[in-house]
């Protein structure tokens, strides 16, 4: 059966800075096969598919396409080799017509002297669309006139136009209605019948089990196992997705629950574009965990806490006061660390001192003036307390490691006396050593009576650190868990997917 293998990856690895997104993954994609790819957020699904499609370059390892070495430098090259991909995000350009979008980058195929033969291009576009069963689209219309679903179908037509040997579908179906999904399944089936291959990435386990011939499970960037259709079992798959071993003492060991019953933040029927009827209380001296998959609205909930996003309906009360905006949130001593700390919380091009002091100007102010001496003292105190590894307070933040950068973000919150701390993905891109320090710190802050929210995609972190865990699914709270010793990831994952 060796000759049936279309694409084989050999020990593919990919590092983004300090973070290992993919760690030595080897897998085979056979002809006439629909292979599913599943794993939690950050398990490396999108990374490996983008390497196959030439968006990223692997840090180590190699690929073979029909038994010859394959290392695409660009998506263009991948397509020439018969590999197409439908990406997770929007991939069309609003102001271009449907036909122009389909043939973006391939205009030379329609050259007529120095011009593009639009008529021919439109005809081809129409053909490409009807090939996947869409007939009622005017290909000269700009794509922004069409719904999100139609735009996805246009992307699919583009991906299929060159009759790829392998088509990668990355979490596309979640955006589609039943009708659109049926079209995709149909396309996948045809691809299979033509003895070609499909790599199908989805969070929807029933869907994967229904459509795929085999399923590859990734976890933390590593290959876990490959399961054939005959052996599919929902429980088995879920267990493999989360079954990682973690050293026990990384997190807190107590099970004492929250310190007080004093409500710090109360949300009542909060609705935003993404969130649906959120009701919750956050208490002083409590660590509240919020978990979910990307797209579940967990990060948006964090922004609502911080006063960055406003609710369409319902209200957020902080110590009984209605929260209106960011400025008020800061007055009420709410501190927020964004999951994109490099672009939203920190000033990378500036010194540690400037980064630490900026959120504490109100405290440092003497009359109108903020004096350099005070700033220096303040920064040195934070650097010492948080054990930030640096040459001096004048070192630029961009020169620090991920963990030390995050310590600077923490220093901002602690320095300006925040009582309520909203930490979105606080340990993303942070190595284990610094993680432990941070967990200790968070636990200490809890004991000092701070109200803390940890938003995280890592279930072990939530289980290990939080007094209560709220699981978000499709913008609504699907389940609440209390802290207890025998809480397992497998208990939670059912409410996640």
């Amino acid at each position: 059966m060796e000759e049936q293998i279309l694409l084989r990856t050999l020990g593919l690895s990919k590092n983004f800075g300090d973070v290992k997104a993919l760690d030595g993954v080897s897998l085979d994609i056979k002809r006439g096969e629909i292979q599913g790819l599943i794993g939690e957020n950050g398990s490396g699904k999108s990374t490996i598919s983008s390497i196959i499609f030439g968006i990223h370059k692997a840090s180590a390892g190699s690929m073979e396409l029909s038994r010859t070495l394959y290392s695409p430098k660009s998506p263009m090259e991948a397509r020439q080799n018969g590999i197409s991909m439908i990406v997770q995000e929007k991939d069309t350009i609003d102001m271009l017509s449907v036909a122009e979008n389909i043939f973006l980058g391939d205009e030379k195929e329609f050259k007529k002297g120095p011009f593009v033969d639009t008529a021919k291009m439109n005809a081809e576009a129409k053909k490409a669309l009807s090939d996947i069963g869409i007939k009622d689209i005017d290909v000269t219309e700009p794509v922004y006139r069409f719904s999100f679903e139609t735009r996805k179908l246009i992307e699919i037509a583009k991906a299929l136009y060159y009759k790829p040997e392998l088509i990668i579908i990355d979490e596309t179906t979640t955006a589609l209605s039943q009708d659109g999904r049926m079209k995709i399944y149909e396309i996948m089936r045809k691809q299979k019948e033509a003895n070609k291959a499909v790599l199908f990435i989805s969070h929807d386990l029933p869907e994967l089990m229904e459509t795929c011939d085999c399923l590859t499970i990734l976890r933390d960037g590593s290959f876990v196992k490959k399961i054939e259709k005959s052996d599919f079992s929902e429980n088995e798959i879920k267990k493999s997705m989360v079954g990682r071993t973690v050293s026990e003492n990384l997190y807190r060991n107590d099970f004492e629950g929250r310190m007080t019953d004093k409500v710090a933040v109360c949300m009542e029927n909060v609705k935003t574009d993404l969130l649906d009827n959120i009701n919750l209380n956050l208490y002083e001296g409590e660590i509240l965990g919020i978990g979910g998959l990307s797209g579940s609205g967990m990060h948006e909930l964090g922004r609502v806490f911080a006063g960055l996003d406003r609710c369409n309906e319902g209200e957020v009360k902080v110590y009984g006061e209605k929260l209106k905006d960011l400025a008020q949130a800061l007055r009420l001593k709410i501190g927020y660390i964004s999951k994109d700390r490099d672009t939203e919380t920190l000033f990378l091009a500036e010194s540690i001192k400037d980064n630490l002091t900026i959120s504490a100007w109100n405290i440092l102010k003497r009359g109108f003036l903020i004096l350099p001496g005070d700033e220096k003292k303040f920064a040195e105190k934070q650097i010492e307390e948080l054990k930030i590894k640096c040459s001096s307070g004048n070192q630029l933040v961009r020169e620090l490691s991920g963990g030390n950068k995050q310590k600077v973000s923490f220093g901002k919150l602690i320095g300006n006396g925040s009582r309520i701390m909203i930490l979105d993905s606080p340990t993303r891109g942070v190595d284990v050593g610094v993680k432990t320090t941070m967990y200790e710190l968070i636990n200490n802050l809890k004991h000092e009576g701070h109200a803390i929210v940890i938003i995280s995609e890592e279930l072990p972190e939530l289980i290990g650190m939080c007094d209560r865990i709220l699981i978000l699914k499709d913008g609504a709270i699907s389940k609440e868990f209390e802290r207890k010793p025998d809480l397992k990831e497998t208990d939670i994952i059912n409410y996640l997917i």
Partner: protein, 316 residues
């Protein structure tokens, strides 16, 4: 050695100033530093330096302005009308500052509200202000309005007063720029507006105050400009905005703003610029060629600053 590295950019611009002075001093047989030339340089430098110092607040937060020349003309026009009408210099000065502040206030409000590039808004302000001045001047008998029965000698010939003015503006705004939440906030916005907001900098308010400070300074500059010629015509203030740009760049100011922005760049840059221009004139360079030299200097400095920071230096 470490200290030197830390203050490297600060040192470079002062060395530049001294170098320009020495080169042209030597070239002109020290004629450059004669009492007459010194006074004339002070007269040129005063409005320029004051406007540059104010404008540093705009550039520090990542803004960009090319309306100052036209605003100077409009403010000067207002001032001369008020002075002639009331016979009061003080009222004239206040009116100049107020009208300039209004221009910049409109500028920043429009920029904030519609999310425009500040350059584009300032372009609109420039055309409006310049258009208004041209329209009014063309409807007067001499196509200009002169100062009548008011004595503006203080703004025209009192060189000690001029130097004092620069010093006062520099010290007052220097303190605000370096040691208050406003100045620090403005620079933080220049670095990363999103982070600044999430760290509690009141973005819109800070930007408005920065533009108002620039407005005050440009208003003062307008009074000096008005006094030196004694009248306003449609060409008053022409090219002033570009002179300000050249000065700031010459002083090593990053055009994208940020924490690293130094307000001293405004002062050193304008002094260097004035000496450079005076020096070129004294050694007998054709005035038309001087403009070309200006352009070349501008390009060279932009090249050097972009190389040095290796980051974005142009405004958004």
């Amino acid at each position: 050695m470490k200290k030197i590295k830390e203050y490297q950019s600060e040192l470079v611009k002062w060395i530049g100033l001294v170098l320009v002075t020495l080169v042209f001093g030597f070239w002109s047989d020290w004629n450059l530093l004669s009492a007459y030339n010194l006074n004339s340089m002070i007269e040129t430098a005063t409005p320029l330096a004051i406007a540059c110092i104010g404008m540093a607040f705009v550039f520090a937060h990542g803004g960009m302005d090319i309306s100052s020349g036209a605003v100077v003309a409009l403010a000067a026009l207002g001032a001369v009308v008020i002075m002639n009408g009331t016979g009061s210099i003080v009222l004239g000065v206040i009116f100049a500052m107020a009208s300039s502040m209004v221009c910049y206030f409109v500028n920043v409000i429009v920029t904030n509200k519609f999310g425009l590039m500040s350059t584009i808004t300032s372009l609109a302000i420039m055309f409006s202000a310049r258009g208004l001045v041209t329209y009014i001047c063309q409807n007067t008998p001499n196509e200009s309005i002169s100062i009548a029965n008011v004595d503006v000698t203080m703004f025209k010939r009192n060189h000690i007063f001029m130097v004092l003015m620069i010093a006062v503006v520099m010290i007052a705004l220097g303190i605000i720029f370096n040691y208050t939440a406003l100045g620090k906030g403005a620079r933080a916005i220049g670095d990363n507006e999103k982070s600044a907001g999430q760290n509690g900098v009141a973005i819109d308010q800070t930007k408005i105050l920065c533009y108002l400070i620039a407005g005050i300074c440009v208003g003062i500059a307008a009074v000096f400009k008005l006094s030196s010629t004694g009248m306003v015509q449609s060409s008053t203030g022409n090219g002033f905005e570009m002179d300000i740009l050249v000065c700031l760049v010459l002083g090593g100011m990053s055009l994208s703003g940020g924490m690293g922005t130094k307000i001293s760049s405004a002062l050193v840059g304008s002094l260097t610029y004035v000496i450079l221009m005076k020096g070129l004139t004294i050694i007998g360079m054709n005035p038309n060629t001087v403009i070309l030299v200006k352009a070349i200097v501008f390009l060279i400095i932009i090249y050097i600053t972009t190389q040095r920071t290796n980051l974005k230096t142009l405004p958004r």
